[in-house]
């Protein structure tokens, strides 16, 4: 008996390793800090988007690295190497399609996450900084989409970038410099590809990692906002730690998103158009779907001409982003219930409806171009 009791108290090899690391880096304290975050009102499905975004980013990094083993970022070989990935590399078509649909999922989840924070009133004091860093992260995600779009070097990539850079050119003061810097010449070519590649695989990921860390730090510092409804008794009874229920919900959310991206990769695997040339031929240039609403807006008569283009492409989106940045400082009412904030609710519906109408209009517009 004595022997068995003495052996049962002996730490296992794994426990010894954990204890060794814990003594040096404070693993258990870190684990407690990570998992024992109180979630006011308990775990909710509405809170999963932040974790899902982190998961998508990690998957994008993994698939992106695997693609880089085969992709050649030169104007001569970018198209051929992408075709090689699709047609010759084992599972290459799936990796590329996953990466492509992952970027779309990231944009969708960023929209969902921002909408949730806005509707929940979670941008209000003391969470203003979290909101601001979140907006910067939104810009980075859009940047990822824009720079990654050029890399396959087909007609779609070439002309979407040309249109995008032309829009950027209309920004006052820095626009000309930005456009020249990105293009690296009069027309998109090797320099453009190199610069977009470096921005896509080096600058943006590094910036995103830094800002995402800051975002998480600020979030943990301020704590979760919790639901905007419910009695004090309800919230108290339901308040829970981050682990296990919220972790479980996050995992289910991640698995669902993973499965959905895989299903999309099967449904619409990436198919390239012809190799990029400075002659568009029959191809009608258009950007990726999440920029379509802006593209269609610029087709309106009101945004015709030099000034109109500046107004539609730069001034209005810029003003909207500036408004979003200033929102926590303008809206100082502590009320978070969206049903008691009619202006916010109507504003959100109008913005979403506008994006939807212009996106669908752009798709209908294709018939007129053909």
């Amino acid at each position: 008996m004595q022997q068995s009791s003495s052996t049962s108290t002996q730490p296992t090899a794994l426990e010894k390793v954990i204890s060794f690391i814990d003594e040096r880096v404070g693993l258990k304290t870190l684990q407690a800090k990570m998992l024992n975050e109180p979630v006011p009102g308990g775990s909710r499905w509405a809170y999963i988007f932040g974790s899902i975004l982190l998961f998508i980013f990690i998957m994008q990094a993994v698939t992106g690295i695997l693609l880089m083993f085969y992709y050649v970022p030169t104007a001569d070989h970018a198209y051929a190497s992408t075709q090689y990935i699709i047609h010759d590399v084992d599972y290459g078509w799936f990796l590329l399609s996953y990466h492509f649909w992952g970027s779309t999922a990231m944009v969708v989840c960023v929209f969902a996450h921002m909408s949730q924070v806005f509707l929940w009133g979670a941008y209000k004091k003391p969470r203003e900084l979290i909101w601001l860093v979140g907006l910067a992260l939104f810009g980075l995600v859009m940047g990822f989409g824009f720079t990654g779009y050029l890399l396959p070097w087909d007609q779609r990539a070439y002309w979407a970038t040309t249109v995008g850079v032309e829009i950027m050119d209309k920004t006052p003061i820095v626009g000309d410099f930005m456009a020249r810097f990105l293009k690296g010449g009069p027309t998109p070519g090797q320099m453009t590809l190199s610069r977009f590649f470096v921005i896509h695989v080096m600058i943006l990921p590094a910036t995103l990692m830094g800002l995402a860390g800051l975002h998480l730090f600020l979030f943990r510092k301020a704590g979760a906002a919790g639901p905007f409804r419910g009695s004090v008794e309800e919230l108290k009874v339901k308040t829970d730690y981050f682990f296990p229920r919220q972790v479980w919900k996050d995992i289910v959310g991640m698995v669902t998103v993973f499965l959905a991206i895989c299903a999309m990769a099967f449904w619409e695997p990436v198919v390239l158009l012809e190799e990029a040339t400075p002659d568009p031929g029959d191809y009608h240039p258009e950007p990726e779907w999440y920029f379509l609403f802006l593209f269609q807006m610029l087709r309106l008569k009101i945004f015709a001409g030099e000034f109109g283009q500046f107004l539609g492409a730069v001034a209005l989106p810029g003003a909207f982003m500036a408004f979003l940045a200033a929102l926590p400082f303008i809206d100082r009412d502590p009320e978070r219930n969206i049903f008691k904030r009619p202006i916010a609710l109507i504003g959100w519906i109008v913005v979403m409806a506008t994006i939807l109408i212009f996106t669908v209009s752009s798709i209908i517009n294709r018939e007129f171009l053909d």
Binding site: Q83, D90, V237, W267, Q296, L300, I364, N365
Partner: protein, 342 residues
Amino acid sequence: MPAGYDGMTEQEALSPVKLALQLLWFTFWTGFPIKLAFALLFLAMGLINFEARIGLAFLMILASPVTVFALPILMIGLDSHIGEGVGIGLLFLLCIPIDIWAYGVVAKTYFLDRLRLEPPEGIGLSLWMKTAVVGALYLPILWLVVGFTTETAISFAHSLFEIDFLKGVPVAERIGAQLVLWGTIATVVLLVMLLVGLWLIGRVIQNAMKRAQPVSGSYQGRVMRWDLMRVPADQGLMLTAFAGTGIVLSILFWSALPATTPRPHDCCKKPEVKTQPPYKAIDALNKDEKVIVQLTAQLEALEKKKAEEETQGKSKRKGNAGKEPAKAPSASAPIQSESKKP
């Protein structure tokens, strides 16, 4: 009114629409990831080939229980099909038990937490059956009404812009205005029809509520009860089962995943390579020997024939030598004569 339903203001305050919306929304999300995992597995195995309206079809299969019977009815009614492959039927059959389970878990939670009622036995199955029947009857009507309204609204919006003073409207503005016009009409009709459908399902749920008894115990106790329904006491076992299922599904997925693209580009279509039968050296030698024997026999026969012809020709020439004068040989003559030889 039964005791459980009588005098409960909270339940009475819940409209059938809100009740149905909440239960169906949570049921959809509870069952969706599991169905999606199977759908993906079937896609990887090549058991499903979706065709037109894939997004809608995919969602309708996965969004059951309301659409579980409505989808096949609609497909038969419209004389259309969403795709091919045994996976579609298999997925359809798999969705049924998943939905019954999901509906049961959600309804039990909702009854305990929000309605403060004891969930009746077999609530998942009974609600699923009734909801599926309502969906099967109502969704085709909704489809027809919304489809007809949308088509009418589109043609109205187009005809409106044929009027003289609107003909000059630029294309982008015209598209936007037309979309807002027919989109608003179609959305309003769709929303009204959806509300009616939700109201019908809400009435079904309210009937189940009437049979339920009020639950006893504190609020915290009720929260504990429904919480344990979702997360079993033996969490280690649950996690092991979850991880094990995930590993098995992942292995199946990777083993079934096509290595090369299922949709090759025109530029890169690989030529079909026919597999050569395995080379059998002895058989080949025997075959060659037979051929050599045959050819040798043919050659001998030909030589024999040639020799006979030559002897016949010599005897003829000897017989004719005294009758015809000898001709001078021309350049073409020997060739012609040679070429006529076998």
